[in-house]
Point group: C2
Chain length 136, copies 2
DNA sequence: GTTATTGCAAACAATTTGCACCCAC
DNA sequence: GTGGGTGCAAATTGTTTGCAATAAC
């Protein structure tokens, strides 16, 4: 048996598998088109929604748009500067243990979690942010 | 000296201070109008943005809209069901300590953090979600 | 042939922006 | 009167929906 899922699901999952960072729906749209696997935006949103419901994708919201990544490649946690918007990924996840407990205590099947710290980076704290207001 | 900040900031901060949960911009709009302190939506968004940058408000994104609350009343963390959308607040914050370390190690001034767990609640896991697809 | 999937375009909703007005200093 | 703060309406942007065309079985 090959795949039972719709073509859109396959294309998106394969694309995200090859990714090291989370992508927005629009980025997925462009990336698929470049791969000669173009899908309509509506289809992409529908597929993302289904895959998310299915626990296969995780979502993080940044600057008004949703970023999707595979649950098998847990998105790292970030320190996000409210001023310049730059975000630094962390390497260690401090809540993996807690996640276990929660599954028990709340009888809640945890697919993934998000953890993000917001504040001001060294650069923005020091200066008035001039020299750091651009990069992502 | 009374207040140096614009009227909008005061009204919004006072409103949020009296709140036990995070509000969306639209909810703030309605609530202020009921208090005879109406502000235009644009003004509200501008004020929220400034207060956020200032580290006085924290933001959590849920179902496509931003929810704002005061940093002095830390928003609790949640277990959010991807299927029915219902979210259960947790009582304990497991990363307060980590936050301290990060401030040191990354020289990053942390204003607040968000932590959220996504998955499927008992109800939705059991049934096909019929009897639980409504409440928030 | 019937059903699920897709694309397009229109609809939506949250948020942002342009600009004129207004109020405080 | 000058400048920040505000409101309104228009514009933008991410996302969703209706529906007809298409592909899968």
């Amino acid at each position: 048996m090959k795949s039972k899922r719709p073509r859109s699901h396959d294309r998106i999952l394969r694309l995200l598998d090859a990714q090291t960072r989370a992508l927005s729906a629009q980025e997925i749209f462009v990336a698929l088109r470049e791969r000669q696997q173009a899908l309509g935006l509506a289809t992409i949103y529908r597929a993302l929604d289904a895959l998310k419901l299915d626990g296969q994708l995780q979502v993080r919201t940044q600057a008004g748009e949703s970023l999707y990544s595979r649950v098998t490649q847990p998105d790292r946690h970030h320190l996000t500067c409210l001023q310049c918007g730059r975000s630094v990924p962390l390497d260690r996840c401090p809540v993996r243990d807690l996640e276990q407990q929660l599954q028990q205590s709340h009888q809640f099947e945890v697919f993934y979690h998000t953890l993000e710290f917001f504040g001001r980076c060294k650069c923005c704290s020091a200066a008035a942010s001039q020299d750091c207001a651009e990069s992502s």
